[in-house]
Symmetry: C2
Subunit: 313 residues, 2 copies
């Protein structure tokens, strides 16, 4: 299969050649150009991007579609000078959802079973038992009940946790107590001994994880942020740990990635850091999903991964 | 409620007074005696024990039932001089099953996502991404498909893993490929990239986790032993890691517990050790289950936790 015109690609330098080759294989006949090597900007009809330079997409007068490499599109919408009216697609699908569910269930179980205390005892060569409540007595709160949050909530409920969910609009997920909107946020937070952020990053959710919110959780709650670094007011995290509002945080994302080597989070043993791997799609699967989305877009077929620019997700 | 006669209790010294008081509350009117303070051995009708001294139960001529504090009864059956014909009960129930499922799912996810590499990178303050296959491409093998193994297998299948199970006799668990008996062990092992032992400890399973078995797993497999220390030939583990047959082991149990401070496992960073907490029932729940089992036993009601001494579980 092929698509009309040419594709321009923006992705980190380590992976650019791989993506160029793979998309060319998947869309034979369609030239795939690297960002800085586009012979004819007017021939470009599709852009496949991860964190492209702001304003850069205005170079392509015939651009008909933008595809985000990833489930989040905040890195695209962060560009204040996007070409107006060009549809934006993301990668979703079973694979990303499955990976995120694995990560969230893993981290929630580790926090629930106080894995960090067991790890410290093992490192000190100490045999020190800890009794924890069963999952049915542990409240877990999932912020964001889209594809990723909904799947994680269902998986945790299936394992017996007392799961609460929070989203902008009302949802109905069997086994999950769903709360909606600002008016029900306090009730949600009060139940979340382990809080998991899987919200999209939008102007409404930027900085939502802050000292004020942490103070409304059960005292000594644990935090997992597997969404975007922009959700967390980073200056508030260590104070929240110091004040005992939180006992522990697991961050898969940061405002600046990779997390700078002098960032205070690295020095704090109460903060676990994973390098944005919660739902790291393998490139081959990602490339196949993108090629299929481009084919469907240009064929005028139905697309489930189209972004609503007004909502931002 | 009460039971006829008196109860003798053998449990670690740190918890003996607690158990004595709690069982007395739950079975008002029934004296509960500590092991070394039984005024009238002939009055004892029930023994509630964890690792009692061999032969010690012969002191009680009127003993009608023995209750194991725990799901495993190997610590009782290890006594070569048990009073003959006295029924043996164990603790099971939802609570122990739930805890074991949590532990197994947690450890399997951590191994699947290569958590030890992420932890090492975090400790070194390095942002180092790892792509792992999705659960649907990961084979997990569960040895033992009783209450604990069956529940763990179902939970892992529910999360999308390719789950294989092995038991002495044929089983049928939806979503799980079940293998039975010695003749199907090789096929089971060949599929187990992550091998979880949840077998009962019997003469037939003692030492089953050995170098010969590890060599039949996919090369570089990971091991979780959440059953009994006696399942593992401890001398074989470090050679199996050195030879690359295994990449990693998680042990919740050991031949001698607590694991002696000079045991070579402590010094090996490829071996994770948790202090027999996989399914550590909280004492209150355990005491309630034991009191209920005793009441049912003396009332002649049906018991699901009765041990078949010929099988050993």
């Amino acid at each position: 299969m092929s698509v009309p015109g040419e594709i321009v690609l923006h992705v980190g330098p380590a992976r650019a050649a791989w993506w160029q080759r793979r998309l060319s294989e998947l869309l034979p006949g369609t030239p795939v150009r690297l960002w800085d090597a586009v012979p004819d900007p007017a021939a470009v009809t599709a852009a496949v991007v991860w964190k492209h330079p702001p304003g850069g997409l205005r170079r392509f007068p015939a651009l008909r579609v933008i595809v985000s490499i990833g489930a989040g599109v905040d890195h695209v919408l962060a560009d204040p000078d996007l070409p107006p009216g060009v549809p934006l697609l993301r990668i979703t699908g079973e694979d990303l959802t499955q990976r995120m569910t694995e990560y969230v269930v893993w981290q929630v179980l580790a926090l629930h079973r106080r894995g960090w205390e067991l790890a410290a005892a093992r490192a000190a060569r100490e045999w020190r038992q800890i009794v924890t409540p069963v999952a049915g007595r542990r409240g877990v709160g999932i912020m964001g009940l889209g594809r990723l949050g909904g799947a994680a909530a269902r998986a945790l409920a299936g394992l017996g946790f007392r799961v609460h969910g929070w989203a902008r609009t009302p949802r109905d997920i069997p086994g999950v107590t769903c709360h909606a909107g600002a008016g029900e946020l306090d009730a949600f937070l009060a139940a979340a001994e382990i809080l998991v952020c899987l919200l999209p990053l939008t102007p409404a959710t930027e900085g939502i994880l802050n000292l004020d919110l942490f103070a409304r959780l059960p005292r000594g709650a644990a935090l997992v942020n597997a969404a975007r670094g922009g959700h967390l007011v980073e200056e508030d995290l260590i104070p929240a740990l110091d004040q005992g509002l939180l006992c522990r945080a697991v961050l898969d994302v940061a405002r600046i990635e990779p997390l700078p080597t002098d960032h205070p989070f690295w020095a704090d043993p109460r903060i676990d850091i994973t390098p944005h791997v919660a739902s790291l799609i393998d490139p081959d699967t990602g490339a196949r999903l993108i090629a299929e989305n481009l084919r469907r877009f240009f064929a005028g077929e139905k697309l489930s991964d189209l972004i609503d620019p007004a909502r931002g997700y």
